[in-house]
Amino acid sequence: MQRKQRIATLAVVMILVLATLAGAETTRKEIHFKVGRRSSISIVNQYGPISVKAGPGKRVMVTATLYSGKVEIDQSKRGNRVSVLSHLLDGADADSGRVDYEVVVPADASVTLHSTTGPLHVEKLHGDVTLEGSTATVDVRDMISAHVHIKTLNGPVTLTNLSDGYVEVTSVSGDVALNAVNGAQVHVNSSSGKIHYDGDFGEAGQYSLTSHSGDIEAIAPSYASIEVVARSVQGRVENDFPLEPEHTSFVARAGSAFAGTVGKAASSVKLLSFSGKIHLKKRQ
């Protein structure tokens, strides 16, 4: 019995020692900047997540968690422009070079995030937002009147609740999902990633969802007001809406292309794929 207790005690001590050693490698840094209106914030983080949220006041608060001594945080503020960079030291890799960022910025700030692995998360802003990540998952939500530019190689992109925005997404093979996204310009350009749109296409926007081989699915309510053209050179095209024909140079072909209007045709919608399937669905 005593032996079991001794082993248990020893195990607890070992765990505590290991946790202490592991904790010693983790460093948490907080950096604060005072900025003015429409400030510009740039964060470059090779490995690790960046999460940006809107906060009150005119302050930028950066909380960075570093997991080793092989990475440093470089920071600068020039006028109204803040720059934070994960500076990898020799020998750093995806694990030792990882930094987790949690950032609070003024809602009107312009934010530029670069990361290889991500994920990248931004919410509740209404300035310009530029997000680039090779394999990074990108999640943007609850934005009003924001310009959102996203580029990924194969990182999936999810946009949720973006209204009155200007949205531009380019991804080679990452899937792109837009939920309740509308604005004057909404463009998605993908090669092999799937594109999913679920929204009402707003009132006076131009929507362009194009892919090479990725499928495109657009779901809209029956009250949607759109002028739509859809075409897939090699894929199948389906449409659930009763379309009013219109005079256009676009050649409709059963099963591979359609064009027409729904309601007052307030917004223009282009669904174009080379070999992917296209489906314009009516929301049930």
């Binding site: 960079l85 995806a94 093979s173 092999s192 090479h212 081989s213 282009k270 080379f274 070999s275």
Partner: protein, 218 residues
């Protein structure tokens, strides 16, 4: 004598200086340094004479370029072949001759390169709209990884070996998009949708290159 006055007479100076100029040079380090620099350039420029003679096309290019610019004209009948009469220069200014020649050579090379670029552009413009990117078409269609692509992958691999596979897969996807878009655009150059495919495909490729070459990321 002031520095300004000295600089004004500097181009006229021969091998000797007047007393006044000598006095100024003794007391003014700026002007004496300037004269020393000019003398050094003069000496070095003579060595250019021994350098390799440019090929005839360089001179032809210069002549053609100068003719196009209207700086030289065909000799009128009755005049001799030589239509440029070099002015007599003091020896101090002779260093300008090889320097000007060097400049002309550089100008000729530049014009030649621009001419080549224009020729390529004209070649592209003369093709159907969708064929502006025919370089990729000419590469191996089964693989479609051009030399630039391979170089890009090497660059990525040298910085972050683990990212090479991702870039390669995405480059192949983009190249396939370009290939299909080009075929589509070629089959119907007036098809606006086909042009849109092509623009999008190249936008993707540009993005891949931009991301790969972004020095801020591995």
């Amino acid at each position: 004598m002031t520095c300004e006055e000295f600089e004004r007479v500097l181009p006229e100076l021969g091998s000797g200086h007047s007393m006044e100029q000598e006095e100024h040079l003794k007391t003014c380090s700026t002007c004496s340094d300037l004269v020393a620099d000019l003398n050094a350039i003069s000496r070095q420029s003579r060595l250019l004479q021994g350098s390799e003679e440019p090929s005839p096309w360089v001179w032809n290019s210069i002549e053609v370029a100068l003719r196009q610019e209207g700086l030289i004209r065909e000799p009128q009948q009755g005049q001799g072949q030589s239509f440029i009469h070099p002015p007599r220069l003091s020896w101090k200014l002779r260093w300008l001759v090889p320097a000007a020649a060097a400049l002309l050579v550089a100008f000729g090379v530049l014009m030649h390169q621009r001419g080549t670029g224009r020729a390529q552009l004209a070649d592209q413009q003369s093709r159907p709209v969708g064929v502006v990117t025919a370089d990729l078409q000419h590469s191996n269609p089964a693989d479609v990884m051009g030399g630039d692509d391979l170089q890009l992958l090497e660059t990525v691999a040298s910085r972050t070996p683990s990212m090479r596979a991702a870039y390669e897969a995405n480059l192949r996807a983009v190249n396939a998009y370009i290939r299909d878009a080009e075929q589509s655009a070629n089959s119907d150059p007036n098809d606006e949708v086909a042009q849109q495919y092509l623009r999008n495909a190249y936008e993707q490729k540009a993005m891949v290159y931009e991301m790969a070459l972004d020095r801020s990321l591995p």
